[in-house]
Amino acid sequence: MKITDAAVCPFPNGDSSVRRFALEAAALGLDSLVAIDTPSATYGSVVVRNGVFLRKAGMKDVINQVKRGKDPSSVISVQAGDAGFNRGVVGLRGVHILRGVHAADKNAFDHVTAKMAADNRVAIDIDLSVLIAARGVTRQRAIQRYRDVLVLQRRFEFPLTLSSYARSVLDLRASREISGLCSLVGMDMYDVEKAFSGVDIVTATPEPSVRVVE
C-alpha cells in the first residue's frame, strides 16, 4: 500500500520547493505526493506525480482540458459544483478526482453521482486542510458533509483520496496524524488505508470487462 497525499502545492503556489516537500513527506511516513502544476519526478523514496486541478471551470473547459492532457501519469481533478455539473464530471473519461465536495451545495453529491463515481472509478477527495485549519461552524459543516459522503461510500464503494492541500511543509501531516484526523469524520483504519491508496486505484489501467482467451 502506498501512502499518498493527493494534493500539495509547491513553489510558486506555496513557500516550499517540491524537493523539500519530498524530504518532509518521507520523514512523515508518506510514499508519494500529487503536486499541483509540478512535473512528475522521484526524489529519494518519494514519488511525486503531476496534478492538474481544474477550479471554477465550466463543463466545456473541463472537457477541453481533459482532452488536452498530454502526460498520462497526470492526476486530473475537478472542483465540485452543482449536482448537474458533478454528474457530468464524474461521467467524463479522464477525470480522476472530484474535489471540494464539502464546499459544494448540500445536495451536490447525491446517490446518483455516488453510483456513477463508483462505476467510473472517480475518487472523492477529503480535504484535510479544512479539518486542520478551520474552526467553528466551517469545520463542523465539513465534518457533517464528509460523514454524509462516507455513508454513500460504504453503500457504493467509490474510491476516496486524502489531501492536505499543503502550501508549506508546515501544513503536511504524518500518516498517523492523518488517521487521527480522519477518525473525526468517522473513518476507521481500514477506510484510511484504502483512501491512502485511492490515487493508485483511480490511475491504474482498468481491467477489461471482457477477456479474450485463446
Binding site: F11, R20, L23, L131, S168, L170, L172
Partner: protein
C-alpha cells in the same frame, strides 16, 4: 490541603513534540493557550476537562505536554490542528509518548540541548532569485530555510541544498 497518596492520583502521560520551523521563539504560556484553544475547538469543553492538557517544559524547539492517561489519541489529534503561535505559523510534530518526563528528555536531540559555541560565526551566504535576496536562517542536512533579506514582509521559504545549487547554476525566474 494534603497531597494525595500516589495510588489515588490520576495517571498521566507525556508527549514530546517538536515545534517546526526551527528558530521560532517559544513561550510556554503562549504554547499552552494555542494547544488549549485547539483541544477545546476539536473536542469541546467537556473533553478538554478530561484531557487536562498542560505544557510541562519547553527546551529549544521541543516541548513536553502532559495529559491524562488514555487521552493521548485525542490530544495528538488536537495537536495536529495547531497551526499558529501568536501570528507565526508553526507545526507540532509528535515525537514520542511516555509515562515519565525523564525518558522523553533522552529523545531530545543532544545538539539542540547543547548548541555549538561558534555556530553563528561562519559567513552567511546570500541567494538571489525571483528578483529578491534571501539569506539562510536554518540548515539541517539537506534542508535549508531561507528568509527574504530585510525586515519588512519577510517570508520564509523551505528549500533544499539541491534547490540552491540549481539556483546558483542557472537563473530560473519563476520556479525552483
Amino acid at each position: 490541603m494534603t497531597v494525595r497518596p500516589p495510588t489515588l492520583r490520576d495517571k498521566r502521560r507525556y508527549l514530546l513534540v517538536r515545534v517546526d520551523p526551527p528558530g521560532v521563539p517559544l513561550d510556554p504560556k503562549e504554547l499552552y493557550y494555542a494547544i488549549s484553544d485547539a483541544v477545546t475547538s476539536v473536542w469541546g469543553d467537556a473533553m478538554a476537562a478530561i484531557i487536562v492538557q498542560a505544557v510541562i517544559c519547553v527546551e529549544g524547539r521541543y516541548a513536553i505536554i502532559r495529559c491524562r492517561r488514555g487521552t493521548e489519541g485525542e490530544l495528538s489529534i488536537a495537536l495536529s490542528t495547531v497551526t499558529l503561535l501568536r501570528d507565526t505559523r508553526i507545526a507540532l510534530r509528535i515525537i514520542a509518548a511516555s509515562g515519565t518526563i525523564d525518558s522523553l528528555r533522552d529523545r531530545m536531540q543532544p545538539a539542540i540541548r547543547n548548541p555549538p559555541a561558534n555556530a553563528n560565526e561562519a559567513p552567511v551566504p546570500e541567494y538571489r532569485f525571483c528578483g529578491k535576496e534571501y539569506v539562510p536562517v536554518h540548515c539541517d542536512g539537506q534542508k535549508v530555510d531561507v528568509i527574504e533579506k530585510g525586515f519588512k514582509n519577510t517570508s520564509r521559504l523551505f528549500l533544499t541544498t539541491e534547490d540552491l545549487e540549481t539556483l546558483n547554476a542557472t537563473t530560473i525566474p519563476d520556479g525552483i
